[in-house]
Amino acid sequence: MDNFSYARPATLRDAASQLGREHNRVMLIAGGTDVLGELKDHLREPERLVPIRHLKELQGIRPSRTGLRIGAATLLADIAESDVIRQQAPVLAMAAGKVGTPQIRNMGTIGGNICQRPRCWYYRNNYPCFKHGGNTCFSAAGENDFHAILEGGPSFIVHPSDTAPALVALGATVRISSGSRERSVPIAEFFVTPRQDARRENVLQPNEIVTELEVPSAPAGSKAIYVKEMVREMWDFALCSVAAMVTVQNGVVQNARIVLGGVAPRPYRAAAAETALVGKALDEASATAAGEAAVQGARPLAKNAYKVPLTQAVVKRALLSLA
């Protein structure tokens, strides 16, 4: 990797003040499990790295009025093992536990996990694609086994995060700071489609830092699960994943959240699947219908049509496991 300067800020304000007006010249580093790989592969060549994992403003899991506030620097391993998260937002703990390997979960943070860059092999091999400032998605007519079947185009990356679908299902809010100014963004609006911005995966400005996630408690009586299909059993990104959360009363689904990972450029809320489920008994028929609805509008590429039946099956099974 190239040389860079490294300044250790004492406060969030210090850290933010070092960020510039453009992406990539100054980069934040928390756990570094993604950033270091990007630097070593010369995907990005920042002049400066600003470490933030130690900042006290980014620490801790605390109760809030509606649920929990989770500092952005909280380790994925700590989220997976946290009793309070397991109780109040179990789908998030499950998703965090599915990330990478124990080594990665013990370095990687929740903030970093939702801000990670795509794993597309064209991006990672430094092809001049949209993500590198170009005007082509090389997967579209290329080797696209692992690419998007939903919301694709002009870029066909899939969002690689495991925790993001869980956070969308929970209706979390992202707290963002530029040092002088703070804002809150509902997580569903935090991520962007390639049509909104093909260069980036989220709305974060170059001078902003994710500081915290406000995670409402899962509705009383709800059940949730995170299911992830991979080529191998661990140390892999999702071919398809689903964060599913349902509330059943008197044998009828009152409320459902079904969010897909690994199939679209952002965590994909399968609204049609939710609609198909609400008001029904949670059984084989309704779960199958929800699975079919989840891939409504899917437009697979030449080599990823398998993701359609795979996603149907994963959604169906996730729901049935909650019955």
């Binding site: 990797m1 091999n125 086994d145 191998r232 049509a305 099974r317």
Partner: protein
């Protein structure tokens, strides 16, 4: 490290269980691999590699790189000897690059980062040339040409016996199918590494090699050195699987840089470089046509194979000998076109072409057995060669030899019993409800072993301790231990008294190296010979001291005894100290097989899979690897080899294909995340059952047979056959992805809904 008691009364050490004698050194880090070695003043090297699959370099300017502080030497193709690397068409560096990742310049600097930065300062102008990646395309008229004499390296082992066309006419049923194994990563944990040290005219090199003497041969040629002025040391090697069986470019690059810089240089590949430039497992596309008679005999087999050698590989590269040595086939023809293309260079990998051939042949046999309504196991038992059957001794296919000590039937019967073959559903896919379908499959394999020259030296010191030197290497097969056990058995000296010097060309006689199932059978026989030589010298020295004839003596637990006389004995250490001179014995052998007899090492794999028809996931429920191992030297090591090789073969069913973009020839997945080698979570060793069939060899030391390659062969065929049995879906390309399984099951959406790029 106590070895358990032997069940065989005549043997004390051979046949026992026990850990590797270097296990603690390896796991505690005291064993020094090439990458661990640091020399005073040592520089670190990086290689500049081609981003194009085929190009001519028309300009190169290294001046900025040379000017960078910390850079001590820069070399380009202009500095490289114009001599092909041993067993290849490749020069160490050339002005024409033929695959993405081929090196053409290199830098040595005081640290890796500086070397890396210097690479980026080298300015290169390429003239891009048309390229070709598919072996069949490469043979068509008008295809881009890699070499002046074309893309066809030649045919490997063309066999014609009888007339296949006549045989197909006579057959009751004939089918033709096409199978493909892609270019796949070979799997060494330790990437290629070399350290070059010049002292005057003498080159000493530490490198990660399977055959130090082949590297030695290449270095003496590249640098015009006498044999004495070149020493190659490969003491500890972290896997090779064939990719390190021939000299590689990294060794010569390190030596060129060290010579130019006047300082020692270490070149260790990154993981990406190891995948792109380690001479990986070659692609094979097989057209298989088979004809059978109603009596279940195989009347004719026609095999046409296209072997994608990559840019330069020219040594090995054919299919194995399953068609000629495993099955009785009346009419046989094999044609194997070895073709150069602009993909990563290839070479032999565990089994060379055996796993590919086994996949093609044992798939097509399974297909025709199913079509005929035969039990695939009964079909194989009907046709496998047994002792006394004719087999070829040479490469032509003429059956001028006789098969001996063949354990194929033993492996099939024992494996089938262990898995429970009788549970197999004779109608594929039938009678299973629910999303998960179970099925059972099998495949049979074979190989030879133990060829070429081998040498070893055994020295008994004055205190009775033993130093054993050999120039093959222990690449993780446990040969350091098994070779010591052979010497220990012969001498009657406990293993604890042994020190081994492995893989050092200066310390040991010539040896061809560790590949092709040969170390135990060839180096092992040299060790046995050297130990017997020592033992005779010990008896000669002890006889007058014990007032006995040498022929009356025996040695056990380092004590020389007069047979039948409990009173007359003397410790080896005392014999040696009275003798006052150390004893040196040497052993040299050439080839392991003699006369009309041909001995092979067969095996049979049985597997039960569960196919998830909704997600396409294939799970191994139970796997049995039964192999004819001859006399096991160390049962623990035998089982370890069989288990490891089996898992490596199963890995090929799941992933590990190198993916190239056809538009620019680049490999997209040259890293562990995208190549997806399995982890411990994928193939649970507890579902793998090992059967070591004890079936003694006529040639190997104490009847041992070599077996390192074989467990890698049958996985692809056995799993494909089991998936078919479970679902009725026949997969003819590895790996077996979710896409393949789901597509086969017809669960995909209609193609009209597919938006293509």
């Amino acid at each position: 490290m106590a070895q358990q008691q032997n069940q065989n009364a005549t043997l004390n050490v051979v046949g026992t269980r026990g850990p590797n004698i270097d296990a603690i050194a390896r796991v505690t880090g005291t064993a020094k691999y090439t990458g661990d070695i640091e020399l005073p003043g040592m520089l670190h090297a990086r290689v500049l590699r081609s981003p194009h699959p085929h190009a001519r370099i028309v300009g190169i300017d290294t001046s900025k790189a040379e000017a960078l502080p910390g850079v001590k030497a820069v070399i380009t193709y202009k500095d490289a000897p114009k001599l092909p690397i041993w067993g290849s068409r490749q020069f160490v560096m050339n002005d024409r690059v033929r695959f993405v990742g081929e090196g053409f310049a290199a830098v040595a600097a005081t640290d890796l980062e500086t070397a890396d930065r210097a690479l980026r300062l080298i300015q290169v102008q390429f003239e891009q040339l048309p390229f070709v990646m598919d072996p069949e395309e490469a043979l068509k008229p008008g295809a881009p040409q890699l070499f002046p004499d074309g893309n066809l390296e030649g045919q490997a082992r063309a066999v014609t016996r009888g007339s296949v066309e006549q045989g197909f006419k006579e057959s009751d049923r004939v089918i033709e199918r096409v199978y493909r194994c892609p270019t796949m990563w070979s799997g060494s944990m330790e990437p290629h590494a070399a350290i070059a040290l010049w002292e005057g005219a003498k080159l000493t090199m530490w490198c990660s090699a399977q055959s130090p003497n082949r590297v030695h041969m290449n270095m003496t040629q590249q640098f015009d050195l006498s044999d004495a002025n070149c020493r190659i040391i490969s003491s500890y090697v972290g896997g090779g699987f064939g990719t390190k069986s021939a000299p590689h470019v990294d060794e010569t690059i390190a030596a060129l840089l060290a010579k130019k810089a006047g300082r020692p240089v270490k070149l260790q590949y990154t993981r990406e470089e190891e995948i792109l430039d380690s001479n990986t497992r070659f692609e094979v596309k097989m057209y298989m046509r088979v004809g059978v008679m109603k009596d279940m005999s195989i009347r004719a087999l026609d095999v046409r194979a296209y072997i994608n050698q990559g840019a330069y590989h020219s040594r090995l590269g054919g299919l194995g000998n399953h068609a000629t040595h495993l099955y009785n086939i009346t009419h046989l023809r094999t044609q194997q076109f070895r073709v150069h293309t602009n993909i990563a260079n290839t070479g032999p990998t565990r089994g060379v072409g055996d796993p590919q051939e086994c996949f093609g042949l044992d798939s097509v046999l399974d297909e025709i057995a199913n079509e005929m309504g035969w039990d695939p196991m009964a079909f194989r038992l009907k046709n496998i060669k047994r002792n006394g059957d004719p087999v070829p001794r040479g490469q032509t296919g003429v059956e001028d030899g006789v098969l001996i000590n063949q354990g194929a039937e033993l492996c099939i019967n024992q494996g089938a019993a262990r898995l429970g073959w009788n549970r197999r559903n004779p109608t594929p896919g039938a009678g299973q409800s629910g999303p998960k379908a179970r099925g059972i499959g099998m495949a049979v394999t074979e190989r030879g072993g133990g060829a070429g020259l081998a040498g070893a030296e055994v020295k008994i010191n004055l205190d009775g301790s033993v130093v054993m030197s050999f120039a093959s290497t222990d690449i993780g097969t446990g040969s350091r231990t098994t070779l010591s056990m052979i010497a220990s058995e012969v001498l009657g000296v406990p293993l604890s008294k042994f020190l081994t010097v492995a893989g050092d060309t200066e310390a040991a006689p010539y040896d061809g190296g560790s590949q092709g199932n040969r170390t135990l059978q060839s180096t092992g026989r040299a060790v046995e010979q050297a130990a017997r030589d020592c033992l005779q010298q010990v008896f000669a020295a002890a006889a007058p001291l014990l007032k006995a004839m040498p022929a009356e003596l025996e040695m056990r637990d380092s004590v020389v005894r007069v047979r039948g006389d409990a009173q007359r004995m003397m410790a080896l250490s005392e014999v040696m100290s009275r003798r006052g001179r150390s004893i040196v014995g040497d052993g040299n052998v050439a080839g392991a097989q003699t006369g009309m007899n041909v001995e092979r090492t067969p095996g049979a794999h049985f597997v039960e899979v569960e196919v998830d028809r909704e997600t396409g996931k294939v799970r191994i429920l139970k796997y049995v690897s039964a192999h004819d191992v001859g006399q096991p030297i160390n049962l623990t090591i035998v089982e370890n080899q069989l288990e490891g090789g089996t898992i490596q073969g199963l890995a090929l069913t799941q992933a590990e294909e190198m993916r190239f973009d056809p538009r620019d020839g680049k490999c997209l997945n040259a890293n562990f995340l995208d190549l997806k080698p399995p982890t411990m979570m994928d193939f649970d060793p507890r579902v793998i059952d090992i059967i070591a069939v004890d079936n003694k060899s006529a040639f190997g030391p104490f009847g041992a047979k070599g077996l390192g390659e074989n467990p890698n062969h049958p996985g692809m065929a056995a799993v494909a056959n089991a998936i078919y049995n479970a679902t009725g879906v026949r997969l003819r390309e590895v790996p077996f992805t979710r896409a393949d399984v789901l597509q086969g099951l017809g669960q995909q959406r209609p193609a009209a809904q597919t938006a293509r790029g």
